[in-house]
């Protein structure tokens, strides 16, 4: 298990970055790490670009991740990974959903959606893992569990035990939502 890391969850308001960060933080606390997490509420949540930050280690002071120091960027929407890329540490990892949410400016042709952003990052030497988290979640029966697919991938990379996360899912989710979240976590872990 990795001893310390800065993890930036990014996406579009309403995509579930906070619940993914909450679950991860709960697991890290159980493992005895010092954890700081920062989230954004209010106006920014209404369909805008959002980020949630998790830092853990033996002792953490600031809840905010500095540019160039994120070990992971977990992006719930394809183009959002690019917006936050300057936060990535050298040799850091981007785990990005390939799900596209096109803002109005793109629909009206005032801006261009960066379709090839993942490929460009890969060509330029960024370490990027792209996953069709949204369609996988829909296949599982609930688009909202895309966040657990992404969290599963991250957890495996961190060396975080799946059993612990599974137990926390059973603790934090209503019975009706447990199975689909467990399946999504399992799927992420297997990717």
């Amino acid at each position: 298990m990795r001893k310390e890391a800065n993890i930036l969850f990014v996406g579009v308001g309403g995509q579930g970055t906070i619940s993914a960060s909450n679950l991860l933080s709960a697991a890290l606390i159980e493992l005895g790490y010092d954890v700081k997490m920062s989230e954004v509420h209010g106006m920014a949540q209404r369909g805008g670009s959002v980020s949630t930050q998790v830092r853990y280690g033996e002792k953490v002071h600031s809840p905010l991740i500095e540019k160039g120091t994120a070990d992971y960027i977990i992006s719930f929407e394809k183009s959002e990974s690019g917006r936050w890329l300057e936060f990535l540490k050298e040799n850091g990892t981007v785990i990005s959903s390939d799900h596209e949410i096109r803002p109005y400016s793109v629909n009206m042709g005032k801006e261009v959606y960066p379709e090839g952003i993942i490929e460009e990052m890969q060509e330029k030497g960024y370490h990027v893992k792209s996953v069709d988290a949204q369609s996988k979640a829909i296949e599982l029966g609930n688009a909202k569990v895309a966040n657990m697919v992404l969290l599963g991938i991250l957890a495996k990379d961190l060396g975080l035990e799946k059993d612990l996360l599974n137990r926390l899912i059973e603790q934090y989710f209503k019975p009706a939502l447990q199975e689909v979240n467990l399946k999504a976590m399992d799927l992420g872990y297997s990717l």
């Binding site: 606390i29 106006m43 905010l64 160039g68 990535l88 793109v106 801006e111 030497g125």
Partner: protein, 591 residues
């Protein structure tokens, strides 16, 4: 027991542990979740007040009767509550009175960046500033002790990153505190000029005692690592400073920042070679420290606008070189906040957005987004409740000019109407100003995350409430029956007809749109299998539906699609499509 908590959860926990009896507040980011969490502890009576002034006054009353009382608000909420706040500083307390004020540096969800530390100075009320969640819990308990010992309200000032960051908290048991005896004391509790003249010197003497107390208080922490560099800081700035300077500096972390512990500051700074003051926004500490004759700096390099973060501090003081990332050609598109898919506000805005003769006076809530592309309806937004009152001023100027072509419409949500919109409506009726008031009733306080309000029929603690009937209230104030229209904002034909009638009205006119927020759980369940789809063969790609600004509608490879996961079948796009290319699907609720 240890628990990972946001600052807001920990502030609530602190009030619970302190034996608080009573809490009253109005929601406002980033303070909202304090009372939401406190309401989970049934030992404390918690309520939503219609506005911050009412919350402050209700808490003041509870304190006078001997209870430990709490009120919370965002920074601009203290402007609303400033009147009772300043006078309670003279009256003092019976049971402890704690006011939690959450500032929003960086304006994540606010209309200005005021630094409310100056309120403590101005009202002569002691102020505590926690740095993390554990301090949030502890400082609330300390605040009650200070409040009762010194007979004063106490201000706890936080910032967004303290309220909305999580860190570990030690949980302790609640300590029950008896409600103190109430005794009539007119000299102390009735602020006539004669009584207030006697209270003012008491307030001044209290500040001297508080300063003396603060010099020896454990709320302030001195960390001595070196004599080369001393940093004076408070709140979240302490966490950032520690991140940047670590053991290479000594720290005076101030937990109580008014009245300042001047002797402690003099002692700490005396043998330091260099002194930095690290604080967000206004140079509040720096000015006070300089006034003590101490040479220090900070504001010369730190920005006054926006949030601090470790990076800004690093660059300002250490000139750390920026690491360049490998440049990318792909640019991420701008993504400002938008009204949600199926939002009822979009329906009504859509019905009048092409009418350039309407001047729209907006307000604080999700419908502030009526100012954004592609709705572009709203002309002005000032503060909570200003839509109707500002609207009366705007309409009166049109009347003075004899301009009958233009008409002012004021847009206000249900919760904001109860907050401070009613008095604006009273002004329009009293002074006979024919402004059109649109009360957008979505049965909740939307922007802050669905809090109950006086119109929803439920209290903060989940009990049945006296719900105020908006149409009856409006009628009782004196709006004539024929000038009140109640509509469902999704239906465009009816909405347009009502807008036309309102525009022609020569008396104050009220439109009430009634449709619950699309994000409310009940609505989501009701509309789960409710959606529309585009028939690609019929679609002529005219983009009329796209121009509603609904985030569920998108264009890919030249074709228009509707995201099935986002759409909840409000049918606005179905209604505006000139080619009947949009089909209703599922068991559509708004058929």
């Amino acid at each position: 027991m240890k628990s990972l908590m946001t600052g807001n959860e920990a502030l609530a926990r602190g009030a619970y542990e302190a034996g608080a009896h009573f809490a009253s507040a109005y929601p406002g980011t980033p303070s909202t979740e304090i009372l939401e969490n406190l309401a989970k502890y049934k030992e404390v009576y918690s309520e939503w007040a219609p506005n911050e002034k009412v919350g402050m006054e209700a808490a003041s009353g509870a304190s006078i009767m001997g209870a430990r009382a709490l009120t919370t608000m965002k920074h601009v909420g203290l402007n609303v509550a400033a009147d009772p706040f300043f006078t309670m500083a003279y009256i003092g307390v019976n049971g402890g009175l704690v006011i939690i004020n959450a500032d929003d540096p960086g304006m994540h969800s606010s209309q200005n960046e005021q630094d409310n530390r100056y309120y403590a100075l101005h009202a002569k009320v002691p102020m505590l500033e926690p740095s993390d969640s554990e301090e949030c819990r502890i400082f609330v308990k300390k605040a009650y002790e200070i409040s009762e010992e010194f007979d004063t309200p106490v201000l706890i000032r936080t910032t967004t990153r303290v309220n909305h960051s999580k860190s570990l908290v030690n949980l302790e048991d609640r300590k029950e505190v008896a409600i103190r005896e109430y005794k009539k004391d007119k000299l102390k509790n009735v602020m006539t000029p004669g009584h207030a003249q006697r209270r003012h010197p008491v307030v001044e003497e209290r500040l001297v005692s508080l300063r003396h107390f603060n010099n020896a208080s454990s709320l302030n922490i001195v960390e001595k690592n070196t004599k080369k560099l001393g940093i004076v800081t408070s709140g979240i700035s302490y966490a950032y400073a520690k991140e940047v300077f670590g053991e290479n500096a000594s720290y005076l972390k101030l937990g109580m920042t008014f009245p300042l512990p001047t002797e402690l500051i003099l002692e700490f700074t005396r043998d330091m070679e260099e002194i930095l003051v690290i604080e967000e926004n206004e140079p509040y500490l720096e000015k006070e420290i300089k006034a003590l004759g101490i040479v220090c700096r900070g504001r010369d390099v730190l920005p006054i606008c926006g949030e601090l973060n470790p990076e800004t501090i690093r660059e300002a003081f250490l000139g750390a070189e920026k690491k360049e990332m490998i440049p990318m050609e792909s640019k991420s598109p701008t993504r400002p906040p938008v009204l949600c898919a199926g939002c009822p506000h979009r329906g009504f805005f859509n019905a009048l957005k092409t009418d350039r003769d309407i001047i729209a006076s907006g307000d604080i809530g999700c419908y502030t987004l009526g100012a954004m592309d592609p709705i572009n309806v709203t002309d002005t937004v000032i503060c909570m409740g200003a839509s109707i009152s500002a609207g009366t001023g705007m309409q009166k100027v049109l009347d003075i000019q004899g301009n009958t072509k233009k008409k002012v419409f004021s847009f206000i949500g249900d919760s904001t109407f109860f907050h401070s919109g009613i008095t604006g409506l009273v002004n329009s009726i009293y002074n006979k100003i024919p402004v059109v008031t649109v009360i957008m009733d979505n049965r909740t306080t939307g922007m802050t995350g669905h809090q109950e309000n006086p119109g929803t029929g439920k209290t903060l603690m989940g009990e049945e409430a006296g719900d105020i009937n908006i149409p009856m209230l409006v009628r009782s104030l004196g709006i004539k029956d024929e000038n009140i229209k109640i509509i469902n904002p999704y239906y465009q034909d009816k909405a347009k007809e009502v807008v036309k009638e309102a525009k022609a009205a020569t008396e104050p006119f009220v439109i009430i749109t009634q449709e619950p927020c699309a994000l409310l759980k009940d609505v989501q369940i009701l509309r789960r299998n409710s959606y529309v789809e585009i028939d690609q063969e019929k679609c002529r790609k005219c983009k009329t539906c796209v121009r509603t600004g609904c985030p569920a509608i998108y264009i890919k490879d030249g074709s228009v699609f509707i995201d099935r996961e986002m759409c909840n079948g409000c049918t606005l796009c179905y209604q505006v499509c000139p080619f009947d290319a949009i089909e209703k699907k599922g068991d559509l609720v708004n058929a």
